[in-house]
């Protein structure tokens, strides 16, 4: 099968959906023909679909999301790009109070079909304002859906589903994933929300991880295989909705869980998943749940500091060994 990058996969999804439905349009800072997206995800789209449908905006995050909402509730299907995940904070009212709540507050009179694409993640030394991961904040907002694609295959299939969904979708990408090249079918496909994927089957321990951490978990699993530990890696693919059954079934099989996420430990993704397992599958656990995450710090600049806080294969392996022994 052909291989394309994560960025190319996203680009294809946008291209196909814009071709399919003229209500779909893109807006964001530098998404148009001059810059083509900070991570080149919108490359070539303005040339094909024009400046009206691939719309460069001023640096106004709040209005980017607000405008997307206004367009969504009046019949369009906007895809807004926020250049860095951290900068969604500037649009937090529009995301949390408006996009997520309008349908509910207005008694179901409207729907808000829009996608907010934005990259989270550390690892490229751009320091504390452009590197944090706070997927968990959005999991805390009823009305939103939270999508976390880990591979080019997921990126394309989930983005197409997101664009066709009638709800506001936080589509959270990862900076280090954009250049990753993997197999993506040429034929059209969609990936449903709320369906986890088992990235590696195993019987001894379950690692639950998302986004770039899936790749680290898989690398750690290879190392652990040499030690005779057979790891199962489960990728929820969407955090809201969360595929509880898939997570619990894997726990039932292995009896041991390590949750790996690239966010702060306190009240993070791991906290929610651990609580869920404790509530619904405690009897199947043979060892305490371990969370591998970043410590509760902002992301530091200097590579040696940054690498110290990001979960790596060694920390993941150590956690797995701990739950096994």
């Amino acid at each position: 099968m052909r291989q394309i990058t994560y960025a190319e996969a996203l680009n294809e999804a946008l291209h196909e959906e814009m071709e399919r439905d003229e209500k779909v349009f893109i807006l964001g800072e530098d998404v148009g023909r001059f810059w083509q997206g900070a991570f080149k995800v919108t490359k070539g789209l303005a040339e094909v679909f024009g400046n009206e449908r691939v719309r460069d905006t001023p640096i106004s995050e709040s209005a980017i999301i607000g405008v997307a909402i206004g367009a969504a509730i009046t019949g369009m299907r906007p895809v807004a790009e926020i250049m860095f995940g951290d900068l969604t904070t500037l649009a937090m009212d529009q995301i949390v109070n408006q996009a997520a709540k309008l349908r509910y507050m207005f008694g179901g009179q409207t729907k808000v079909p829009m996608v907010v694409r934005t990259p989270f993640g550390a690892g490229v030394s751009i320091a504390a304002h452009l590197s944090q991961s706070f997927e968990a904040w959005f999991m805390h907002v009823p009305g939103l859906k939270v999508v976390v694609p880990s591979t080019p295959y997921e990126a394309k299939g989930l983005l197409k589903t997101a664009i066709r969904d009638d709800n506001p979708i936080m589509f959270l990408e990862h900076k280090l994933l954009y250049p990753i090249k993997k197999e993506v079918p040429k034929e059209e496909y969609l990936i449903p929300f709320g369906k986890a994927d088992i990235k590696r089957e195993g019987k001894d321990v379950t690692i639950i991880s998302t986004l770039f951490m899936v790749h680290k978990a898989l690398a750690a699993s290879e190392i652990l295989a040499n030690d005779g530990i057979d790891v199962e890696v489960v990728d929820p693919r969407t955090l809201l909705p969360l595929d509880k059954n898939a997570l619990i079934n894997s726990v039932k099989k292995t009896g041991r869980v390590v949750i790996v996420s690239e966010d702060c430990k306190t009240a993070g993704v791991g906290a929610e998943i651990a609580a869920l397992i404790a509530e619904e599958a405690l009897d199947y656990l043979d060892a305490p749940i371990i969370r591998v995450s970043e410590p509760d710090t902002p992301i530091p600049f200097s590579p040696i500091l940054e690498q110290f806080v990001i979960p790596d294969e060694r920390r993941i392996s150590n956690a797995v060994k701990k739950v096994v022994h």
């Binding site: 349009f25 009206e52 449908r53 905006t57 001023p58 106004s60 709040s62 209005a63 999301i65 607000g66 405008v67 997307a68 909402i69 206004g70 367009a71 969504a72 509730i73 009046t74 019949g75 369009m76 906007p78 009212d93 529009q94 109070n97 408006q98 309008l102 349908r103 509910y104 507050m105 207005f106 008694g107 179901g108 009179q109 409207t110 729907k111 808000v112 079909p113 009823p142 009305g143 859906k145 009638d166 709800n167």
Partner: protein, 318 residues
């Protein structure tokens, strides 16, 4: 000049809002309304004047002080009242309340309680109109207080650079809760801020419904011609407190009295009587009509059931 039937309709709409709000005030006093209320009393000419310049398919966005906007755009009194009472038959099935009236069927895209948050949303509705190629316009209502939010700048600028068909209607009632406009901005006319966006900024007497109408009509025409947004400042005054039990003692007596003399409803009534358009008995007839539909609305709202508690779990996702 507008024909007689439209002038009577203006009067009727303003009266509907006035009587509706006085009824809400009364029901609130009788402890029948949960939460809080922000009455539109005194500002009727703004909503009515602007909405008169709109077509049925046009949109509006509204604020915490939004009952008047909804009525002016054509929403039903009974369903607004039911919503305010938290009833199942309300526009939002009891999930929105006084601060979140919406009626998408008449282009009323909803009221927000986050001051200033609707400006970018109105621009988005404007962008949608442009992309869909219809001839609609959007009127975005907001207060003097809201004009100090970042969203005022972001939302208007985006509408300006893209020539979006939006009327930004600032209802300058000179107070944001207890904060005087003059203490939070150094300019007198909020419309002056339009210069910063390269769009027309117009200040009108917001208690003169025809002045508001004419300015809004011009702005709407401009918007429909693809020439972009207008910032329309309507100077007005709320005749009651900000909310709930606010007695508004922070406002000088003379100021309040001066504004009461400029009451938009009385002024308009006097004008159409003076002009010989309407006779006192017709005024009386309209009053009786409005009292009647309002009575019916209150009965409808009071007799409507409350929602099932489990209604709270619905309408989260489409």
């Amino acid at each position: 000049m507008l024909d007689k039937s439209r002038l009577l309709n203006i009067y009727r709409k303003m009266l509907e809002i006035r009587y509706f709000e006085e009824k809400v005030f009364e029901l609130f006093g009788r402890n029948l309304i949960p939460g809080t209320i922000h009455l539109y009393t005194g500002q009727e000419a703004v909503a009515v004047g602007v909405c008169l310049a709109l077509h049925p398919q046009d949109y509006i966005t509204s604020t915490h002080r939004g009952h008047g906007h909804a009525i002016a755009k054509g929403a039903r009194l009974d369903r607004i009242m039911a919503e305010i009472l938290g009833k199942k038959t309300g526009y939002c099935k009891g999930k929105g309340g006084s601060m979140h009236i919406a009626d998408f069927d008449v282009g009323m895209l909803g009221a927000t309680a986050v001051v200033g948050s609707a400006l970018p949303i109105a621009s988005g509705a404007g962008l949608s109109i442009k992309l869909r190629g219809t001839s609609q316009v959007v009127a975005c209502f907001f207060g003097d207080g809201a004009s100090n939010q970042g969203t005022f700048h972001e939302g208007i600028n985006m509408a300006a650079i893209w020539n979006l068909p939006v009327l930004f209607v600032c209802e300058n009632n000179f107070y944001a809760m207890g904060t005087r406009q003059s203490s939070v901005m150094l300019i007198e006319n909020i419309a002056e801020r339009a210069v910063a966006y390269g769009i027309p900024g117009i200040t009108v007497d917001g208690n003169d419904v025809l002045a508001v109408y004419e300015a809004a009509l011009k702005a709407a025409k401009r918007a429909r011609e693809g020439k972009g947004p207008t910032l329309l400042e309507c100077r007005t005054y709320r005749q009651r407190g900000h909310s709930r039990f606010d007695a508004a003692t922070y406002r000088p007596k003379e100021e309040v009295e001066a504004w009461l003399k400029k009451d938009p409803l009385k002024r308009f009534q006097a004008k159409i009587i003076d002009m010989g358009i309407i006779k006192m008995d017709e005024v009386y007839q309209i009053e009786q009509d409005v009292i009647k539909i309002l009575e019916d609305a209150v009965i409808f709202a009071m007799e409507s059931p409350f929602p099932e508690p489990a209604e709270a779990l619905k309408d989260i996702y489409a």
